[in-house]
């Protein structure tokens, strides 16, 4: 039953092949039995899940229930869940139980989806290996000596290990796409503003975007349809109607113009990964698409610009964790300064502290122009690169990551090597564009991801493009479980 896709679960529930309580119970049992190997969940909520499942079964019996009614899912522990501890992977919030739901969670709850639990993640979503979590690293179901990627490593691993058919995730610099690539799952980072950020604990507000990780594009379409939409509680959410993303699947892609940027096939790219990506591009040609060379000349500036802007925003976003109102507070503070210094020093891990320091530095008097302002200029240039490319093409394709999953501990001591994991994904965040990763092969029995970057609000087209590929290939069906 755990092998079922979301689309299959939806049909199974409606055809009374099984109930929501049954599949929910089955997956909870699997999590209980297997997650010790992966550590993909921080919190499992069996009681609540079974209650939700029972309620969903009633709705399904009554008829007229939304598509996702009764479908069990997992939420990244960055999304606030009313009454359920939301840690953001940090000691700082180990004791934090929000009195409200994130809009994304609320949307799924309203749709009748079932929450299995909260998935592990890099602390405050800062990391590309899931090793910065206060709750320990997540292990890649394809090889438990390898990282699953990050920061949404728990969501990706849970889906790859068939502990959940789909999960929510967030992507600030590649945190949906990179773990999706490393775990053979399909992940979509929507256009900035497509999915509400309310209740999603902020890392870098101008870059953060929630999205789904699932087993294929069709499932991702189901999840995105429920997640997306304008939210009056998020001033940056887009005031645009949400299409039914599943309705646009199966469209013909003959004549589709696929941009292939030379910059995404540089020396940094593992040749075997390059070969899998080239194979995928050939598959698209067979489907009638046309490959067009495009240039994104400022690609090499994306990582440096990102590592100024994201930490700068984070340095302010994380100031609220001061031990005064909630979260970790040090024992017996001597005075205010001691309260701040020890609460934050104890509550935040090394990588989070590093980024707060980097961001604080970048915004400091005398450095602001050289760093923050310059990075914003670069950001505009990167956006401009894409605008020009999309004058000629419908989507852009390339690798999601420079290499397959790396070993646990391999890059932990070398932040810059870790940051370069996101070399192909960061630009989409800086430009606010939607990006996807889908499985396109294996290298040494480790998954490789094909990245699709779409134009603004072009998620429906991207999902169709991905779905067409998955109709003619089986890579996404390869299972670690």
């Amino acid at each position: 039953m755990h092998q079922l896709t979301i689309a299959e679960i939806i049909r199974g529930l409606r055809d009374r092949q099984f109930s929501s309580v049954e599949i929910t119970g089955h997956l909870l049992g699997r999590i209980e039995q297997l997650d010790g190997n992966y550590n993909s969940f921080i919190t499992v909520t069996p009681e609540q899940a079974l209650q939700q499942a029972a309620a969903a079964d009633e709705r399904l019996t009554a008829g007229g229930a939304p598509a996702l009614c009764g479908v069990p899912l997992a939420h990244k522990d960055i999304f606030c869940t009313e009454g359920v501890r939301t840690s953001c992977g940090s000691k700082m919030l180990d004791n934090f139980t929000p009195p409200y739901d994130a809009t994304v969670v609320e949307n799924f709850n309203n749709a009748g989806a079932v929450t299995l639990g909260k998935t592990n993640m890099d602390e405050f979503a800062m990391g590309s290996s899931n090793e910065t979590s206060y709750y320990g690293p997540v292990k890649n179901p394809w090889n438990t000596n390898c990282v699953p990627g990050g920061s949404s490593g728990g969501s990706a691993a849970a889906v790859a290990a068939q502990l959940a058919p789909g999960a929510t995730a967030t992507d600030t610099g590649g945190s949906i796409r990179q773990p999706a690539a490393l775990t053979n799952t399909t992940g979509l980072k929507p256009t900035y503003g497509r999915v509400s950020r309310w209740g999603m604990i902020a890392f870098a507000s101008s870059l953060d975007q929630g999205g789904p990780i699932a087993r294929n594009a069709e499932d991702a379409a189901y999840l995105l349809s429920a997640m997306a939409g304008h939210d009056p509680k998020d001033s940056t959410s887009l005031y645009r109607p949400v299409p039914d993303y599943t309705a646009g699947l199966n469209g013909d892609i003959a004549g589709l113009r696929i941009g292939v940027p030379a910059e995404y096939f540089s020396d940094d790219l593992n040749p075997q990964v390059a070969a899998r990506v080239q194979d995928a591009l050939k598959e698209y040609e067979k489907l009638g698409a046309q490959l067009v060379e495009v240039s994104l000349p400022h690609t090499h500036l994306a990582v440096p610009a990102y590592y100024v802007i994201a930490p700068a925003e984070a340095s302010a976003n994380l100031s609220r964790f001061d031990g005064v109102r909630y979260g970790h507070r040090c024992e017996d503070p001597r005075d205010l300064r001691d309260l701040y210094m020890r609460s934050r020093g104890e509550g935040f891990g090394e990588e989070v502290q590093r980024r707060i320091l980097v961001g604080t530095y970048a915004l400091s008097a005398g450095y602001y122009d050289a760093y923050y302002n310059k990075a914003q200029q670069v950001r505009r240039l990167i956006k401009q690169d894409f605008v020009q490319a999309f004058e000629k093409v419908d989507v852009i394709m390339g690798p999601t990551t420079p290499s397959p999953a790396f070993a646990l501990g391999e890059k932990k001591a070398d932040p810059v090597a870790m940051y370069l994991e996101d070399i192909y994904t960061i630009a989409a965040n800086l430009a606010g564009l939607p990006g996807m990763s889908l499985p396109c092969g294996l290298v040494n029995n480790l998954p490789v991801g094909l990245q699709i970057i779409g134009n603004y609000l072009d998620e429906a087209r991207m999902l169709n493009v991905a779905h067409r590929y998955q109709q003619v290939t089986d890579w996404h069906k390869a299972s670690a479980a």
């Binding site: 606030c80 939301t86 009195p99 209740g199 604990i201 902020a202 001033s235 340095s315 302010a316």
Partner: protein
């Protein structure tokens, strides 16, 4: 040496919106601590700000009233610093692109002269919460501090002037002008005692004729007009004494101690805060259309300057009276009602600025809660003009009205204060006083013609006393003169 004082003011005005700048929580003053702070105000994880449209409208109204440029595109920034009453660890404010740009207003001084003061800009920002110390010792234990976040997120406009003022009196006149503009617009209650309006004064001194500005000190959080005046006076004197003694002024933040009437340095340990401003990524730039601004403009009420000019032309008031009566919209409205109902603008002005102001001052009441309504005062003035009572008796009637004894007519009736204008009755009183004052009559007879009118004062006084002040003074004068002159 002749010194010149240079003053620029930063005035924080709390806007009278129902909810906060970025959340739906109420802004009402005086609720129990932390009962008006929602998840956004508490900076709970994942919460986001949503701008309050009403606050923008208020800020635009203010900008238009200040003859200022309106920032068609304004940007919120984060001002970063740690403090327990600042839940997010940053204040959301505006810096490079404020909602209100440069402008200019005219202030009216005591001597009847006017002066222009330039506005540098005004920006929207959120207020912080309040730290409670001594006040919670009893309930929470000695040495404890509490945080009340009811005020956190309350919308403020910070109004920054150019350093255009040259005396404490000018600074107060400017502050009063800001006060009258915001209260006229109804965008703030302007109540300084509740912190709805707070003032920081930048004060420096220089030798007269010098063009370069001296080093300034910033006096923080002055909370009354009177203290603004006193703080500036003592701070300027401190700087002058310092320089004359061979020292120099340090740029710093100072606090005014009203008990000791002195300013003293604060935050000396925290040198040069770096607030690391940057545009708030949770809020998009706000763009205002020309239509929007024009709509707001078309709905502005009559402003103090326009009223000031109109009161002079329509009611023939002096510049001074017009200024006094237009500083507060409620006072202007009160006066105008009295003037119209009584048809006597000059008398109305005298009464409003005289007896009424004294009464309100004594009772510490705002004019909105005056025990004597504008209609009642107009009724009293009508009794003066129709000679029912004299001005002197009117004051007595007014006090009775203030004490709740009813309208002028009721008081006059009940207390029997109607002016005696009956010729027979007055003649009788005159005769009696003349008969009882042979010595004074003799003196009068002997006196020179020119001195006699003055000598009548004694008799008038006696007659008024006999009539308990109710005899018509013009009639007393006429009858008395006839009778005395008949004795010559």
């Amino acid at each position: 040496m002749e010194w010149e004082i240079v003053i620029g003011l930063e005035v924080h005005v709390q806007l009278a919106t129902k909810s906060k700048l970025f959340s739906g929580a109420s802004t009402r003053f005086g609720a129990a601590p932390n009962t008006q702070a929602c998840a956004v105000d508490l900076a709970m994880p994942g919460t986001l700000p949503v701008p309050n449209e009403e606050a923008f409208r208020h800020a635009v109204m203010f900008g238009l009233a200040m003859n200022a440029e309106i920032g068609r595109r304004s940007v919120f920034e984060r001002k970063n610093y740690f403090y327990p009453d600042l839940p997010k660890g940053y204040q959301t404010t505006q810096l490079a692109q404020p909602i209100v740009g440069p402008g200019e207003i005219e202030i009216h001084l005591e001597d009847g002269s006017s002066k222009k003061v330039r506005l540098h800009h005004a920006h929207l920002e959120e207020d912080a919460g309040k730290s409670l110390h001594e006040t919670i010792f009893e309930t929470h234990g000695h040495g404890m501090s509490g945080i009340d976040l009811n005020r956190a997120g309350t919308p403020l406009i910070e109004i920054v002037s150019e350093p255009d003022m040259r005396s404490a009196a000018e600074a107060v006149a400017y502050l009063k002008k800001i006060h009258s503009i915001v209260t006229y617009l109804g965008i703030s209650d302007g109540d300084m005692s509740q912190g709805s309006m707070r003032c920081d004064a930048n004060v420096s001194v220089r030798l007269k004729g010098e063009e370069k500005l001296g080093t300034r000190a910033e006096i923080k959080n002055i909370n009354s007009f009177r203290f603004v005046e006193k703080a500036i006076v003592v701070e300027a004197q401190r700087q002058i004494d310092l320089i004359e003694d061979g020292g120099s002024v340090v740029q710093e933040t100072r606090l005014y101690d009203s008990d000791k009437n002195e300013t003293r340095s604060m935050r000396s340990k925290e040198v040069a805060n770096d607030y690391r401003y940057f545009p708030c990524p949770d809020l998009l730039p706000v763009e205002l259309s020309e239509d929007y601004v024009e709509t707001v403009r078309s709905r502005l009420p009559e402003l103090p300057d326009a009223k000031y000019a109109r009161f002079q032309s329509e009611y023939s008031l002096s510049a001074y009276d017009a200024d006094q009566l237009t500083q507060e919209r409620a006072v202007a409205d009160y006066f105008e009602t009295v003037a119209k109902e009584s048809g006597e603008p000059k008398l109305a002005a005298n009464w409003v600025m005289g007896e009424l102001a004294a009464l309100l001052n004594r009772e510490e009441l705002p004019i909105e809660r005056s025990p004597v309504s504008a209609e009642q005062l107009a009724g009293l003035i009508a009794r003066i003009t129709d000679n029912t009572i004299s001005s002197k008796i009117a004051k007595q009637v007014f006090e009775a009205m203030a004490a709740g004894e009813g309208d002028a007519d009721a008081v006059i009736e009940k207390r029997g204060l109607k002016q005696v204008s009956d010729t027979g009755a007055i003649e009788k009183m005159v005769d009696e006083v003349i008969a009882a004052s042979p010595a004074q009559v003799e003196n009068y007879r002997k006196a020179e013609e020119a001195k006699r009118p003055k000598m009548m004062g004694y008799f008038v006084g006696q007659i008024m006393k006999a009539s308990k002040g109710q005899a018509n003074p013009q009639m007393i004068n006429k009858i008395l003169k006839e009778k005395l002159d008949a004795l010559l």
